[in-house]
């Protein structure tokens, strides 16, 4: 399994290579020249085929939109919109697979609609007021012309060139069987004695060949770039997405904080507080028994002392869960080293942090790493783990690798999803690679600044 997850609106940060312009070609470096050619031409024709599909979807979507108020469009507009978005997403994915070109999705998360007719109307209104619906529609309309024509033109150049040579040799046979004897603007079946124009086929086929070698590559990239222009979010929907994302993470953060406070309250109530009450009662009883039964008093005092020790232990555990002291003392690096020492795994920790992180980020990163280690110890059947912590280009980057069995899941409800939520409040992103059989690599990235203060490593 190989999943990458993260906020869809991750903002490109300065210092990271931005997606754009030239320089795509990660996928094109492999394979021989001929194989790459063949693949590119395959892409040309695939784009052609997709563009036909897009023409159909465009027709459906347009019908749905036009009839939404006058007919039954409202019945199937959601379905056709889903089709449109799937097709657009597939095109985004192709750009990514072919060129590593990242086209972000512009779609806002779907709100909850009521059941029944009114809900349907709400949904249609939501679809029609979304700018991306209209941008998708324009893209669907134009893609058959741009993707289809460009694709088929580029894809057929080599065939055309080969055909020229075939025609040059076999034109008498071919024309006899009723085939056209024109090649471009050249008439091949010139009568004898006239200047034999058909030899012009050689340079023409050559030119077609040359274009056929050079063009498909460029056209398929041009097509991807054109798609990106329409398929990536406009500035407005980018902002809308950002707002939606911030609302979501803020809700998560507030919820998590409230749950944390409830847990602390419960722990104090059932733990230290209860012990102190018991201690007070024991001391009261001891006071009452002081004159009559010194032996019983001794037992009560011992019990009171044990209660206080237990209360302390519980408070210590609680404090460690809120904000571990070693984290405030020494910062992320040493706090993670301390956790690594307590882990049942052999954990190697490498830290390159020339200063301290913002306290909130430090704490979030610390608990995320703790949870990663716990997960690894519990589920991965690993012996060793390696944690790498560094700060570069305005981001804290944490990589946690283990030698376990792999197959880690990132779905809802998993520990990893919890980690993603935790760092999501800071615009952090997580990527998990965990093929069956291992190894599992989890990377976290959180944008943040380092304070200049040097960490003390005495």
């Amino acid at each position: 399994m190989n999943t990458t997850s993260g906020p869809r609106d991750a903002v490109p940060t300065p210092g990271r290579p931005a997606d754009g312009g030239e320089g795509y070609g990660g996928n094109r470096q492999r394979g021989s020249r001929a194989r790459r050619m063949a693949r590119t031409i395959g892409w040309n024709w695939a784009d052609f085929a997709y563009s036909i599909k897009h023409a159909f979807i465009f027709a459906l979507q347009l019908t749905a939109i036009v009839t939404v108020f006058t007919g039954f469009g409202w019945l199937f507009l959601p379905a056709t919109t889903r089709m449109t978005r799937q097709a657009a997403n597939a095109a985004r994915q192709r750009a990514r697979d072919r060129f590593g070109m990242r086209i972000e999705e512009p779609y806002l998360p779907e709100p909850r609609f009521q059941d029944g007719f009114m809900g349907r109307i709400e949904e249609c209104r939501w679809i029609l007021t979304d700018r991306s619906t209209w941008r998708d529609l324009v893209w669907m309309l134009l893609d058959p012309f741009i993707g289809g024509i460009l694709g088929s033109f580029a894809g057929s150049l080599l065939l055309e060139s080969a055909y020229g040579l075939v025609l040059l040799v076999f034109w008498p046979v071919l024309t006899k069987h009723g085939m056209n004897d024109w090649y471009g603007f050249v008439h091949v079946s010139t009568p004898p004695g006239v200047l034999e124009w058909r030899w012009a086929l050689v340079p023409m086929a050559g030119i077609f060949f040359g274009l056929g070698v050079v063009l498909p590559d460029r056209l398929v990239l041009a097509h991807a770039k054109w798609s990106r222009a329409l398929l990536s979010p406009s500035e407005k929907s980018r902002l809308a997405l950002r707002v939606a994302r911030l609302t979501e993470t803020r809700t998560d953060a507030v919820d998590a904080q409230a749950a944390e406070l409830r847990r602390i309250e419960r722990d104090l109530h059932d733990g230290a507080q209860a012990r102190l009450v018991a201690m007070g009662m024991n001391l009261g009883a001891a006071e009452a028994l002081l004159d009559q039964n010194p032996e019983a008093v001794r037992a009560l005092l011992v019990e009171a002392r044990e209660s206080s020790a237990r209360a302390l232990t519980e408070l210590r555990e609680l404090v460690r869960g809120i904000h571990p002291p070693v984290l405030s003392d020494r910062g992320l690096g040493d706090a993670v080293r301390a956790v690594a020492l307590d882990s049942p795994l052999a954990v190697e920790v490498r830290v390159e942090l020339p200063g301290r992180l913002e306290p909130a980020v430090e704490s979030a990163a610390y608990f995320a790493i703790c949870e990663l280690l716990t997960n690894t110890a519990k589920h991965a059947h690993a012996h060793s783990a390696w944690i790498d912590i560094r700060h570069a280009q305005g981001r804290l980057a944490v990589t946690c690798t283990d030698d376990g069995l792999g197959g880690a899941r990132t779905g809802a409800g998993s520990g990893l999803a919890g980690i993603e939520r935790r760092i999501g409040a800071f615009d952090g992103i997580m990527a998990v690679t965990s093929p069956q059989g291992g190894p599992t690599v989890v990377s976290l990235e959180i944008p943040c600044v380092l304070s200049s203060e040097k960490t003390s490593t005495s």
Binding site: S308, T313, R316, V319, S328, D329, R330, R337, A338, L341
Partner: protein
């Protein structure tokens, strides 16, 4: 025995002073922050220092750093570090110079006054007193690798008690065996860890170091 006390909370400082005086120690200085502590340690050169990890001005690991700095000046200066929580990381830093005479205990251990006084004396004599919490975390890791893997479970247990600063007599009592049996275990441990015959206290420190350094 002359003691320097470093603790910023007034109640605890007074309580500790009273407790130690009741057990026959003499408090030569009782201070409440890191820089003053370092000065006091270097000036008085006490037989043992009892120090809280967290102190002003930064309220982080001020006490620990003062103690480590003092031990650079005065190698082997006996220190017993008290804390609300224990970390193996700090235990290692204290033991790293290999000079022994180090204690690292939870503040809760003060409740058992006579055991606590015994730990202070143990440290003053050049031994170690590691908190059972540190030890139990090590045991929870499943008994370590290579070197310590050669120890039998019983020997491992004895080593753990040794790290807490218990004498052979105390270990024998705890495990309900004869003192001779414990002596045999300890010499086996020294042998398996490759510690050459020397005076017993020093070997105990080295064994504990190996114990803490197993990962």
């Amino acid at each position: 025995m002359r003691v320097v006390l470093g603790e910023d909370l007034y109640l605890l400082r007074e309580g500790l002073a009273r407790l130690l005086e009741a057990h026959g120690f003499e408090i030569v200085a009782a201070v409440g922050d890191g820089p003053t502590l370092l000065e006091a340690l270097l000036e008085h050169r006490p037989d043992v220092a009892v120090v809280d990890v967290r102190m002003p001005p930064t309220f982080t690991d001020e006490g620990l750093r003062a103690v480590l700095a003092a031990r650079q000046e005065v190698p082997g200066l006996p220190v017993l570090v008290l804390s609300q929580y224990v970390e193996q990381l700090y235990a290692r830093e204290l033991l790293a110079d290999g000079a022994g005479a180090v204690g690292y205990l939870l503040k809760d251990r003060v409740f058992d006054a006579s055991q606590f006084a015994e730990s202070v004396r143990q440290v003053a004599r050049g031994g170690t007193a590691m908190d059972p919490e540190v030890i139990s975390k090590l045991l929870a890791r499943g008994g370590g690798k290579e070197l310590l893997g050669r120890l039998t479970p019983r020997e491992f247990e004895v080593l753990g008690l040794m790290a807490q600063g218990r004498s052979n007599t105390a270990i024998a009592q705890q495990l309900v065996v004869t003192e001779r049996a414990v002596a045999k275990h300890t010499s086996n441990i020294f042998g398996k860890l490759g510690l050459p015959p020397s005076d017993d206290d020093n070997r105990r420190v080295l064994a504990v170091l190996a114990y803490l350094d197993q990962s």
